[in-house]
């Protein structure tokens, strides 16, 4: 491919694209897109809404060019979350701590993973099996003497779960309900083509003097891995520390299940990603 041909080809592209790039005006972008129009308008609306919230409420965290968009919701914002234990299968939640939205696609490629590296204390859980959910909660010592000392007092040493981004189209989101996020960092892991959010979150527990339990803060590390093109996201969360959690995430292997899933394949369009048990 020689340079002159490349130059000539660029000179021949649709002049509408050139015209819209004369000045930066995302809100006025009029050139046609192959994506469906309603999705695009939803996305623009969501960008504008989030930007307005940032300005209005002084929020600083907003990822635009990585696939993630995230914000701390306004107090009055509510979310209808799938909840098996409620009579109608949902609960309405109004105190989410973080809302993470994802790029809209028509179809997601469903994936599964297996761990390529786990901390030494977790080697009993290492397996060649491909999964969509992994938890190390059985290793935490919750007073039942079946856990291991390294994870004493932990609620969730490690949890990994896959999601399809199409589940969260049209205003859906991943929600952090209980834990309060700290500083959010963004990275792109080129080798696996992943957009990555990393942050530490915490939840405060008051003391319970009658039982001799002191006040404490439970700290969780969170990593979200997003493949924009294939439309999937994986949460890797836990209490094993940032360094070890990152190593787990970096060594995950992924493969497609062969299924593709669309928005309408999901009953619920919100999911929470606090590092819980179960």
């Amino acid at each position: 491919m020689n340079r002159d041909k490349l130059f000539s080809a660029l000179g021949e592209i649709d002049p509408r694209f050139v015209a819209e790039a004369v000045r930066y005006a995302p809100e006025e972008a009029a050139a046609p897109s192959e994506r469906s129009k309603h999705m695009k308008s939803k996305r623009i609306l969501s960008l504008a809404l989030a930007a307005a919230l940032i300005v209005a409420l002084g929020f600083t965290a907003y990822g635009l060019y990585l696939g993630f968009e995230y914000r701390r919701p306004a107090a009055e914002e509510t979310f209808s979350i799938h909840w098996d234990d409620s009579p109608d299968g949902t609960i309405t939640w109004s105190d989410a701590k973080l809302v993470v939205t994802l790029p809209e696609l028509e179809e997601s490629r469903e994936i599964e993973f297996r761990t390529g590296w786990l901390p030494g204390e977790m080697l009993s859980l290492q397996s060649e099996a491909w999964k969509q959910y992994f938890t190390a909660e059985t290793l935490s010592d919750n007073g039942n003497n079946v856990g291991i000392p390294a994870y004493q007092g932990m609620m969730q040493p490690l949890q990994i779960q896959t999601f399809c981004t199409t589940q969260f189209n049209q205003g859906g989101a991943l929600l952090l309900l209980y834990q309060t996020p700290g500083e959010i960092r963004e990275e792109h892991w080129e080798e696996k083509n992943l957009d990555v959010l990393l942050f530490r979150s915490s939840i405060h527990f008051d003391a319970v003097p009658d039982y001799g339990i002191p006040a404490r803060d439970q700290v969780i590390d969170n990593i979200l891995l997003l493949n924009q093109e294939e439309g999937w996201v994986v949460k890797v969360v836990g209490q094993i520390g940032e360094e070890q959690l990152r190593k787990v995430a970096e060594n995950l292997e992924f493969r497609p299940t062969g299924n593709t899933l669309r928005y309408e394949d999901f009953d619920s369009h919100f999911a929470f990603f606090d590092a819980g048990v179960g």
Partner: protein, 185 residues
């Protein structure tokens, strides 16, 4: 002034057309020339030549959008000037951005000989159409207007590093797109 009114002035052969063209799109036109030519005098001459080119071609042409038309003329003129002055050198800002693109498009391809620029242009059109506006903007500013990364960062409010990463990913995406379209082996 709206494109249609400026075009009407050209069709009336009113010299006011050039003034209105400069008033409406002069900044974009000069910026395009400035990105490619270092010498301010070259930039000025190139812009004037572009306006003359527009004057000579409208009518009969009635291009839409007008800004793309005049920017394309100034871009071609600037590159011609650049090539004639630096025939043996490969150090212009344009060469730098084309070099970036070349890196993601292998030099040896089965169809290299036959691939026409126009066919490649249509493939790039389809690639651009599938991008989000911010991505299209980044791609055009860098590879059409030859903006330096720091200027793109300033225009969009992004960090330079973020712009560079995004451009890298766009080049990768283009490479995959061209492969998918069968233009690359």
């Amino acid at each position: 002034m709206e494109d249609s009114k400026i075009l009407d002035l050209f069709f009336e052969r009113s010299e006011q057309a050039i003034l209105e063209l400069d008033h409406t799109y002069g900044a974009a036109v000069k910026n395009t020339a400035r990105n490619l030519l270092r010498d301010p005098q070259d930039v000025e001459e190139c812009v004037n030549d572009a306006y003359l080119g527009v004057w000579n071609s409208i009518p009969p042409q009635r291009p839409e959008p007008l800004v793309s038309y005049v920017c394309r003329i100034v871009r071609n003129l600037a590159v011609s000037r650049l090539r004639s002055e630096n025939a043996s050198k490969r150090n212009s800002s344009l060469d730098l951005v084309l070099e970036e693109l070349e890196e993601c498009i292998p030099a040896k391809t089965d169809v290299e000989g036959e691939l026409e620029a126009r066919e490649l242009a249509r493939a790039i059109d389809r690639f651009l159409a599938a991008l989000s506006y911010p991505d299209r903007y980044l791609f055009l500013r860098r590879y059409w207007f030859a903006d330096p990364v720091h200027e793109i960062a300033a225009r969009t409010g992004l960090r330079e590093n973020r712009v560079s990463v995004r451009l890298f990913r766009l080049r990768e995406k283009l490479r995959k797109h061209l492969q998918k379209e069968g233009l690359l082996a």
